[in-house]
Symmetry: C2
Subunit: 200 residues, 2 copies
DNA sequence: ACCTGAACACCGTTCAAGT
DNA sequence: ACCTGAACACCGTTCAAGT
């Protein structure tokens, strides 16, 4: 497949791809630079030609995961192009589903000391408001809902914190198995999302 | 103060206390057994008399943090002994405040691989339903609210996931600075909690 | 420009040995 | 029973050296 990659300048992409894979398999806490290098069949110091340090590799991997995440959210929006409220609900469900199926991404994107890892890619860092960033995608959906719902009393920011906070919290609790309920989580979640009491 | 502790069997408590302090100062990712031992003026292997491995120390520290957390929640409940709805709201605010002021506890309690660290203390593990555990405290508050609100259409479990998820998500986003809003977070949060649209 | 191997400081953990 | 010191395997990172 990628037979022209080794020793040819594709190592950087290879490290990111392999890193993502190992991170998924072994978990964030057992992730190591040396393992990634070994898995790519290069020496332990080879990654330093492409990344300043371990944190920069992690940042690059996080940027990749962020891209996948953003795509999942956008995909959900497409289901109801004309109904901002349904869009918001569908996106919330997609949010939870994404992290339930990729629990290690939660640690990668939200729990690591990303502060120091943020400088490498526009997907991370303070430019949350650029297109391609989940925050941007999510916030836009919230704004469309707000503009379309004259009876909504909450402001955009409150709505954003409320909606994101809710789906994020639910994702963490379910993906991490911190909340000990047996049975069908999807049902629980969608029953929350469907409740007319809330904005959904 | 604790002059009779070294070489006297108090090392275990000392390790937990010092571990909590170092975890707060240096963060979960830079936490190390050897540093804790050195800070307690014992050799690097001394902790192994009291804990099977590093994870068991972390579990003991997490149990301590869990206790503090539970006390914060219970304290909030006492403000409105007769109003389950106000209690729930007040507890939600306390939840967010606790983690905003102890951001490292979020990593400790919810992001670490606690699965493997759970066997040491009743505060963790599957006995979420025992008294002394925040889950128990929170769930009871939800039940009281539900029993007192005949118009509430959501079931207990949905309410639990909804309430816990919401305050947890908000805690993570604010404590981690993942949501880039300038200004007064407390105001945003309490405006969400005060919204009559939601059960609060 | 890109990669390697030796080296250093720091980990977690085990084990034989001391009191 | 409780603690120490040497030792081992594994880290991240630096540096001189190879192509």
């Amino acid at each position: 497949m990628q037979n022209q990659s080794y020793h040819h300048g594709d190592l950087k992409a290879e490290l990111i791809r392999m890193g993502l894979k190992l991170l998924d398999q072994e978990g964030y806490e057992r992730f190591s630079l040396r393992k990634v290098a070994k898995a790519c069949n290069v020496s332990q110091t080879a990654p330093y030609r492409h990344f300043k340090d371990k944190d920069q590799l992690i940042a690059a991997i996080a940027a990749e995961a962020t891209k996948e995440f953003d795509q999942s959210l956008k995909q959900a929006l497409e289901k109801f192009p004309d109904d901002p409220k349904k869009q918001l609900k569908e996106m919330g469900i997609a949010y939870v589903n994404f992290f339930v199926h990729n629990p290690e991404y939660l640690r990668l994107l939200f729990l690591s000391d990303i502060k120091s890892k943020m400088k490498i890619d526009p997907c991370l860092s303070e430019n949350h408001f650029l297109d391609g960033h989940p925050f941007h995608t999510f916030f836009n959906a919230v704004k469309r809902y707000k503009n379309n719902s004259p009876n909504e009393t909450m402001g955009e920011k409150e709505l954003m914190l409320y909606c994101w906070g809710l789906v994020h919290g639910i994702s963490v609790l379910i993906a991490n198995r911190d909340i000990p309920f047996e049975g069908d989580y999807a049902k629980l979640v969608s029953s929350i999302m469907d409740s007319e009491k809330f904005l959904w």
